[in-house]
Amino acid sequence: MGATPEIAVIDDLIRQRLDEILPGRIEEKLREIEESKTPSLSIIATKGTLDWAYPPFILGSTAAALGWDVQIFFTFYGLNLLKKDISDLKVSPLGNPGMPMKMPFGPDWFKGINWNIPNIIQGNIPGFEAMATTLMKQTIRNNGVATIEELRGLSQEADVKFIACQMTVELFGFSHDDFIDGLDYAGAATFLPVAQKSDVCLFM
């Protein structure tokens, strides 16, 4: 037996009214939730060179400055970025055709030259990597770009959570004494549940 005619009319009216009110209310609620939520960022840092040290620390420190919750998981070569002494981080132009090779000193016309040296020559000049690293560091200084030490310190100050991959620590024969204080030593199972709830998750 169906609803009595009166109830059917009331049901129709309720449905009609709900259709009118609900979309607006849902939108309002979603906006409220969105606004009250703290955004979060999870980064996996896997590279241990001077150039690749920048993205995780720049994005991590900036996200923290914007009020986000940030965690960075350092694994494999990324662990190098957590060592007490990171003054020996290097950048290599070898196998990196995207890297401009310009001199950070001299007159403007000289600084503008891109020294396009073939890999086969770069690879055979002793100390080429050390020279490229020195030039890169000078360029960084010239441009008022922060050092990695500075960005790392600012990240820690801003409560960016650093997680060091314990498996890699053992694999590479490191000890906890090699690294700065304030790290969590853990594995993939620690990272993933946090990453799952992150708004932004990046692999670097």
């Binding site: 420190s61 400055a65 009020g67 008022g144 600012l154």
Partner: protein, 75 residues
């Protein structure tokens, strides 16, 4: 415009002006105004986004001879 604190971020590049500004704002009280000077051309969009996201009000943003000047009111 009146301001309570000043930050000279000239010569600094992304993301340092934002990080220094955030740090300086942390030490200020609600309603106080921070004046920032910068030379990073990216800082114009960055400070607008920073203000919008953090709720600190960007009172003004101006360019004068390749130098940028921002006034931010602490939330």
């Amino acid at each position: 415009m009146n301001f309570d604190k000043e930050l000279d971020a000239r010569g600094l590049n992304c993301p340092l002006p934002i990080l220094r500004a955030k740090k300086t704002l942390n030490d200020m009280t609600s309603g106080q105004v921070l004046r920032i000077m910068a030379t990073d051309p990216g800082s114009v969009k960055d400070f607008a986004a920073f203000a919008k996201q953090t709720g600190n009000e960007l009172l003004s943003s101006a360019e004068n001879n390749k130098e940028f000047e921002f006034y931010i009111k602490r939330k």
